[in-house]
């Protein structure tokens, strides 16, 4: 068992080392990514100012608290650019080019391979900017978090990340059946921008949608509340449960998809 873990660990390191090597050939990318992240952040802050108006409030959230939500969104967006997008959008090209066969024949779990094979450093500016924004807002928050509160907040952040991964994986995995809808993950990316703002800023009907259908609430609002020290037990438990269920869901989904692939491909 330990041997296997070591092998997977070594494999992950070699995946990301080769991936970085291929990407770092283009240094101009770093400048552009930095500018893009900063530009987007500046624009989002501007819009937040406009929305908050003279009262400085959005959906009952103070300006500072709303910044935490924006920071978490930027962090998750950076995570998407680092890991989710470079890996999962390749599933469709694997299916189209027949190279999925090679992945299936390696003595490594195929879901692990497809999810972690590449690492794009270009998402890192987003990750750093997000963390910086969160840190800044928390410092200005005044209330300090207890160690337990911090742990919960981190757990909820991780849960949010896992839910995001599951959504991406589900949509990207559909290319095993339908190659023509490869851009479903793009739709996801464009709809998740709703996570920029606290969920209470939306009308009640949409709030329901953003909890049950497209769990944006669990991605940004719930971890933000935990970071601000106002985590509610119900939401926290719901988030953790959702993360666990969606992770198991991806596993079952992938096994189902592989069964289809291996009986249908010629």
């Amino acid at each position: 068992m330990a041997q296997r873990l070591r092998r997977y660990g070594r494999t992950l390191l070699s995946f990301w080392a080769t991936s970085l090597e291929a990407e770092l050939e283009y240094q101009l990318n770093l400048v552009i990514e930095l500018l893009a992240v900063l530009g987007n952040l500046a624009g989002s802050l501007f819009v937040l100012v406009l929305l908050a108006g003279p009262s400085g409030q959005l959906g009952g959230w103070s300006w500072n608290s709303a910044l935490v939500v924006l920071g978490i969104y930027t962090l998750l967006d950076g995570f998407t650019s680092c890991v989710l997008q470079p890996n999962l959008s390749k599933i469709v090209s694997h299916v189209q080019n027949g190279t999925l066969d090679f992945v299936l024949l390696k003595p490594i779990d195929s879901q692990f391979w497809l999810s972690t094979r590449s690492f794009s450093p270009w998402g890192l500016p987003g990750v750093i900017a997000g963390l910086a924004l969160i840190g800044w807002a928390l410092v200005h928050n005044g209330e300090a978090l207890s160690a337990g509160g911090m742990a919960l907040a981190v757990a909820l952040l991780v849960a949010g990340g896992l839910i995001l991964y599951s959504l991406w994986f589900l949509l990207a995995g559909l290319s095993i059946w339908f190659v023509k809808v490869w851009n479903a993950t793009e739709v996801l990316r464009y709809t998740l921008v709703a996570g920029r703002y606290p969920i209470s800023a939306y009308p009640p009907a949409l709030r329901l949608v953003f909890t049950l259908v497209l769990p944006v609430a669990f991605l940004t609002t719930v971890p933000a509340e935990a970071l601000l020290g106002r985590a509610s037990a119900a939401w926290a438990l719901g988030s953790l449960a959702a993360a666990a269920i969606s992770l198991v869901g991806t596993r079952l989904f992938w096994q189902f998809a592989l069964r289809h692939y291996t009986s249908a491909s010629s």
């Binding site: 080769t18 003595p107 490594i108 491909s265």
Partner: protein, 327 residues
């Protein structure tokens, strides 16, 4: 006889294909009521391969060779029948099965396009759990056998097709599999590169005793490497044996080419066999095997023969003829 390393029994595979007519009308109809038809790719295959053999799968496009190979490697589930490779059920794709096999496809590659092969090799070493020093030693050994040197440090996209294929083989053999599945490995290579790859495979088989299952269109691959041939035609196993046996079976006749000192009329040759060519001093006859010695003797005594050649019709023609008549 020892345990076969590859064993197939009643192996069959059929695909359900959606029957869709082209055009907008066809799309609408397909949307409302789907119709499917069953395409039988492979029917009732039965064979056993011993460790260390080099076996060739022959057949025209669409015969089911690649489907069979994919069933043996576990990429496709059989519709019926049973297959066992190295003591495992391939479709379970267990780790110890995957450590023992390798698949190389001539029309696709697994090496990272933008990076030198060495980087892909490093990844493979990690994936298969090969110790770095041991990996280095194996790379060195295989590179020598494949005549690869500084190519390993150039990005894959900058290598020629032949070099790329050799690098693919290196990556595929790094973990020392005991069963090699090769699907059209010499596809698109020039004559020299083809010869090199064949030599390497024969050498590798001699040194390591690995079992090699090979599909190819090029007869050259088969004749150079395979003592045993499995001919798949329309999904069924038509022949399982040596190439010579196949030739005898397909062509109970041999071709005799004569160059004569004088010109003789066509009728003079009619009793000896089927006349294929009668042109001036050149005559080509097709004579059944059993009568060969007798007829050749008669020809030599009756005519003044400057040159005589006895040969098999090319195996490609024989196989092509077989597929044409039944296909």
């Amino acid at each position: 006889m020892s345990q076969p390393i590859v064993h197939a029994e009643g192996l069959s595979k059929s695909f359900r294909v959606a029957d869709k007519q082209p055009g907008l009308a066809g799309t609408m109809r397909h949307l409302l009521r789907r119709s499917y038809r069953e395409v039988e790719a492979v029917r009732d295959l039965r064979f056993a391969i011993q460790p260390g053999e080099i076996v060739g799968f022959l057949g025209p496009n669409g015969a089911g060779k690649t489907t069979t190979l994919k069933m043996l490697s576990g990429l496709i589930h059989p519709s019926a029948g049973r297959v066992e490779v190295a003591g495992c059920l391939p479709q379970r794709r267990q780790e110890r099965f995957l450590q023992q096999i390798t698949l190389v496809m001539g029309n696709r590659q697994q090496l990272i396009w933008d990076l030198p092969p060495l980087d892909s090799l490093r990844v493979n070493a990690a994936v298969y759990g090969i110790d770095p020093t041991e990996a280095k030693r194996r790379i060195h050994e295989l590179a020598e056998m494949l005549e690869l040197g500084e190519e390993l440090q150039r990005p894959v996209r900058k290598l020629s097709l032949g070099q790329r294929m050799k690098a693919e083989l290196l990556a595929a053999l790094l973990h020392q599999p005991s069963v090699l599945f090769l699907d059209e490995p010499t596809l698109g290579l020039d004559v020299n590169a083809q010869a090199r790859v064949r030599d390497f495979l024969a050498d590798y088989n001699r040194r390591t005793g690995a079992t090699v299952l090979l599909t190819s269109h090029y007869m050259g691959d088969i004749t150079a490497l395979c003592e045993r041939v499995l001919l798949i035609h329309q999904g069924r196993l038509f022949h399982d044996g040596s190439l010579d046996a196949l030739t005898s079976r397909l062509a109970p006749c041999r071709e005799v080419r004569l160059e004569l000192r004088q010109v003789h009329p066509r009728e003079a040759f009619e009793g000896f066999g089927t006349i294929e060519v009668h042109q001036g001093h050149q005559v080509r006859l097709v004579i059944p095997r059993e009568q060969l010695t007798q007829q050749v003797g008669l020809l030599l005594s009756r005519f003044e023969v400057v040159d005589l050649e006895v040969s098999d019709p090319p195996i490609e023609e024989l196989i092509g003829g077989l597929f044409r008549q039944q296909g």
